[in-house]
Symmetry: C2
Subunit: 413 residues, 2 copies
């Protein structure tokens, strides 16, 4: 397996506010062709440290990718320093300047003289044209190794990598391709899932499996290898199908989709409509559902009934129910769901009331106590959960639990 | 100025899904005492590369901090490899084991034998107790330099750093302290702001200023240095006051608060209540406002009126208005705001209707066209903006614009 290192260059990446994220996408692409990222470095506009980093990286790893530091100003040291680190000269390319002049004119401006700096390229490098910016990239072969120099903006470096570097590395990495697939599971813990599916995945030697907990759900990551994309995809598909057979309805996504996408697709497929009544989640469920383009097809209305009067006025929850059982109760959750559905005239509704904290908890109803309601034309019901976490996590996990409850009800129909 | 390097250890930090974020908080703390982070490395469970990284870092920089790799399993190589890199032995501490046994018992479990590994400490290291986990940290003096070894979870390493390392480094860094302050500005561009405030900040040689655009607002970061916290704080305060004097109401936050916090505080201070009617933002404004603990004091109700019928039924927008002007119009935005306020009986209301895309745009109303409405007892009005960006950014920027509109209306009263 080939090894890679990624070097992100730029002093702003060493502040408390910003760090490198380019490496995530690049890592995904490298992993697809079986190249493993072994080390990442983030370095500022610091010639000494950058030179040492590039030297070490080229010595240790098969593929070294740098991002950033290719602008036209003096701070942009990547061209000079990478060339020096590998003991090569920079060569001036008149055609790059000409090209830049034409592009600047198309933007209605004259090219500033300073941009000539961007026409210096490491000798014998493959030049990577940049349709979305002024900095060209470079790919240099050093014996059996590669040094690849890319600009910082993702909208520039991603197309450059896709077009010029991915095919090159794929060929070098050999005939094996790797394909990833993510399944998401609700309502079961990591170890229960592992116990149930280990007999499945351990029978496949060309698939690596990892099981991760992510905020409110467990993810099963499959990475299959094969001689072609089709072969690797087919292997993932085979295992995914067996996992779904074993875990059943708990698997809510077999291709990495978010819960709100899954629920949205179910509603759209069945031509059903939804309304949502929220208290402690404060609009989070509506917001997640409407994040999906096209959600107006099934999402009709949401109410954030934060005050008790809002529950009464907007959702027809009788003041007696609130007085008798409390705003955080199964009875109130059910009345909210029913009131919401009747008012919005939808096929389904869900509701949430609970205590997100940090204050407001009592011994009987501690912070994290949540009631989730559901209503359709035949039936109105609810369930209670007590969720761990801070205000942010409790709100997130409640919204996930409510969407999952709806999903399971629709699938049961 | 002292230099620092941060090394994040763990193979999961080299996947496409996850990367180091511990370094952001650590960088903020180091910058406060004038220590500059010059390089960050992310390395997996790879002894060779980790050893080389630690060796290089200790040679290049005054302070080296590692996070991660201190668990009890064989993958956790930090103790062994850092010791080797600096040529020291590991020493077994019986008292650490005793302490762990007691803590495991308190959790109702026997300490697994494997946890004994966590009692090995680099010779002559200062041991950093960990009240929130089983891995102790270490601080090693190497001549004039420091190697600091911390566990990975922020809830463990942050208190350890605060209590034991921060005072140590503060003393070493000398008498100069650095304090940071963030001002946030709405409705003005970066260059307009810089032009207006450059005469202010350039008169102070002990303050560095940077101006950054962040999604929907411009941030002015001030970093003042002084002999004491009080002195540096006073300097920031002085400049902040002058900036507010110059930019006026456009400065919405003088201490890094989010827009929803600023608006919440204004409402709470004036004992006023709010209701929110949303269409294209789908609950985002309500969700942001209720993210703030204590928001139930002023936030009464939100309605997500996605379908036209919801606008009519829930917000009393007359069907004639929608038919005549369209759902995305000044008239509809105003009717939504007024209907919302009257229904929820609040002091204020805001509303949003628009086209978040990617589809639904027309030549007259392209994607990004947003109408924001406002209503109080005396007055109902609206304004139109056309926002750039994808669906996510258009929704975010609309929510920010609506909250800012409300803030300005309240301040004008």
């Amino acid at each position: 397996m080939l090894s890679a290192e990624i070097i992100a260059i730029g002093s702003e990446l060493l502040t408390p506010e910003k760090t490198d994220t380019n490496s995530l996408w690049l890592t995904g692409k490298l992993n697809e062709i079986g190249i493993e990222v072994k080390l990442k470095t983030i370095v500022g506009d610091d010639s000494g440290r950058l030179e040492e980093t590039v030297k070490d990286a080229v010595q240790r790893s098969d593929v070294v990718i740098t991002t950033g530091g290719l602008g036209p100003t003096e701070d942009d040291i990547t061209r000079t320093v990478t060339a020096k680190a590998i003991g090569r000269e920079l060569v001036f390319h008149e055609d790059i300047v000409e090209n830049l002049r034409v592009r600047f004119r198309a933007w209605g401006r004259e090219m500033p003289e300073i941009n000539k700096r961007q026409a210096y390229v490491i000798e014998d490098a493959l030049i990577l044209p940049n349709p979305n910016g002024s900095a060209v990239g470079m790919a240099v072969r050093i014996g059996e190794k590669f040094l690849i120099v890319l600009p910082e903006p993702p909208r520039e470096n991603q197309p450059m990598f896709e077009t010029h570097i991915f095919p090159l590395l794929k060929e070098k990495a050999g005939e094996i391709v790797f394909k990833k697939r993510i399944l998401k599971v609700s309502g079961l813990g990591e170890s229960a899932i592992d116990e149930a599916i280990a007999p499945i995945y351990s029978a496949y030697k060309n698939v690596s499996t990892s099981i991760l907990f992510n905020k409110s759900e467990v993810e099963v990551h499959l990475t299959a290898s094969g001689r072609t994309d089709t072969e690797a995809d087919a292997l993932n598909e085979e295992i995914a199908a067996k996992i779904v057979e074993t875990l059943g309805i708990a698997v809510f996504s077999t291709d990495g989709e978010e819960m709100e996408e899954v629920v949205g697709k179910l509603l759209a497929k069945n031509s059903k409509t939804l309304a949502v009544a929220e208290s402690c989640t404060g609009g989070l469920i509506s917001q997640r559902l409407t994040d999906i383009a096209g959600s107006s097809q099934y999402f009709i209305e949401g109410v954030v009934a934060y005050a008790n009067e809002a529950k009464t006025d907007a959702l027809d929850v009788s003041p007696e129910i609130i007085a008798r059982y409390g705003a955080v109760s199964a009875e109130t959750a059910e009345a909210m769901a029913k009131g919401m559905r009747q008012r919005a005239k939808t096929d389904y509704s869900i509701s949430i009331t609970g205590i997100a904290g940090p204050t407001g908890g009592t011994p009987e109803k501690p912070v994290g106590t949540i009631f989730i309601g559901y209503s359709d034309a035949q039936l109105t019901k609810s369930f209670k959960i007590v969720l761990p976490g801070d205000r942010y996590l409790i709100r997130w996990r409640s919204s996930q639990a409510a969407l999952d409850y709806l999903r399971r009800q629709i699938l049961k129909k």
